[in-house]
């Protein structure tokens, strides 16, 4: 009886939402929204201060943001302060985990012995995963992805090593140093922008040609820093999870 009531309630609320949304004037149907009317054209044409001109891939030079990927140009250039906040949130959560689990001994929990296929396969796959992660955050301004997925991919490669070899340990001190250095450099780059062109985190380096690997000014630098920071942070979180409790 309870389940039937729950399902009926769910269907009722779903129908209410569905009809309610389409009853609003001007709410477009699925797939019929005109993006050109909504997204500010200045962000797409990479020029928010002056009149818009056409942007041609591989030809246009020295735009406001030289990133070929719209998402990256907004996330790391126009709204870079927001990304700094996101990185801080991740830092605070990893700090909380190490505070909660920090009382545990440095000894890692005994794990069951991995089988042959996992042990041999991880040795083949590990460098490929690391390479893909580094590729994703180096090409963050050209292709989808960026610092966060690339860093998590590196952390998952370390997790694979933990699973495949019960004697495997990482030197967590080095990861903590990498993380703090990368985080500080992000803020320092922001302050350099404040000194050079009067805005925090402004893109003060020449942005180059759209679509080239070495382009987009500070965006690749920031994405490499974010990738290193996220990767080392999540590795620390995984190591904390695997620690044994002190009896």
């Amino acid at each position: 009886m309870k389940k039937i009531v729950a399902i009926a309630l769910l269907v009722f609320i779903g129908a209410l939402l569905f009809t309610g949304i389409y009853a609003i004037d001007g709410f477009p149907k699925y797939g019929e929204a005109k993006v050109a009317d909504r997204v500010s054209e200045g962000y797409i044409m990479k020029n928010v201060t002056e009149a818009n001109t056409d942007v041609v891939y591989g030809v246009s030079t020295n735009l406001e943001t030289g990133s070929a990927n719209y998402v990256t140009s907004i996330v790391v250039n126009y709204r870079s302060f927001d990304t700094l906040g996101e990185v801080t949130v991740l830092f605070v959560s990893s700090l909380g985990i190490s505070l909660l689990l920090g009382g545990f001994s440095g000894k890692l929990r005994n794990r069951c012995k991995a089988n042959f296929i996992l042990r041999m396969g991880s040795k083949v796959v590990f460098p490929l995963i690391i390479m893909t992660g580094v590729y994703i955050f180096i090409h963050g301004h050209l292709s989808p992805g960026g610092g966060f997925p690339g860093g998590s991919m590196i952390a998952s490669a370390i997790l694979l090593l933990y699973l495949s070899d019960e004697k495997f340990r990482v030197n967590i001190e080095n990861f903590k140093k990498t993380e703090s250095t990368a985080g500080s450099l992000y803020v320092i780059i922001g302050l350099l922008g404040l000194v050079i062109s009067n805005y925090f985190l402004s893109n003060f380096i020449n942005t180059g040609t759209v679509g080239a690997l070495l382009s987009a000014g500070i965006i690749p630098i920031i994405y490499v820093l974010v990738g290193l920071k996220v990767g080392s942070e999540l590795t620390g979180v995984i190591t904390d999870f695997l620690k044994e409790e002190v009896e």
């Binding site: 019929e32 997925p149 999540l234």
Partner: protein, 83 residues
């Protein structure tokens, strides 16, 4: 309705089905596997909706790291329960 693709409908239906199975499965381990499968399908639906950035993030975090963390937690629970 001509803009709705048949693949999108199948993916959406499977997402709902897998979410239902994840909530209703009796064993924890099956629930985790269903959750992982549903985030795999979420990756597909993000790619269909032309959000590749979100799709990559979901693929790495949703179906990779989250599943691993849940499995570790489950192993710890089992150890405590056995003693």
């Amino acid at each position: 309705m001509n803009s709705v693709n048949i693949v999108e409908v199948i993916v959406a239906g499977l997402l709902i089905l897998l979410g239902f199975l994840a909530v209703n499965s009796k064993k924890m381990i099956t629930a985790i596997i269903y959750l992982s499968l549903s985030s795999m399908l979420a990756v597909l639906s993000f790619a269909i909706m032309k959000a590749p950035d979100v799709a990559i993030t979901e693929a790495v975090i949703g179906s990779g790291l989250i599943t691993a963390v849940f499995l570790f937690t489950l192993l710890v629970f089992k150890k405590v329960g056995d003693e």
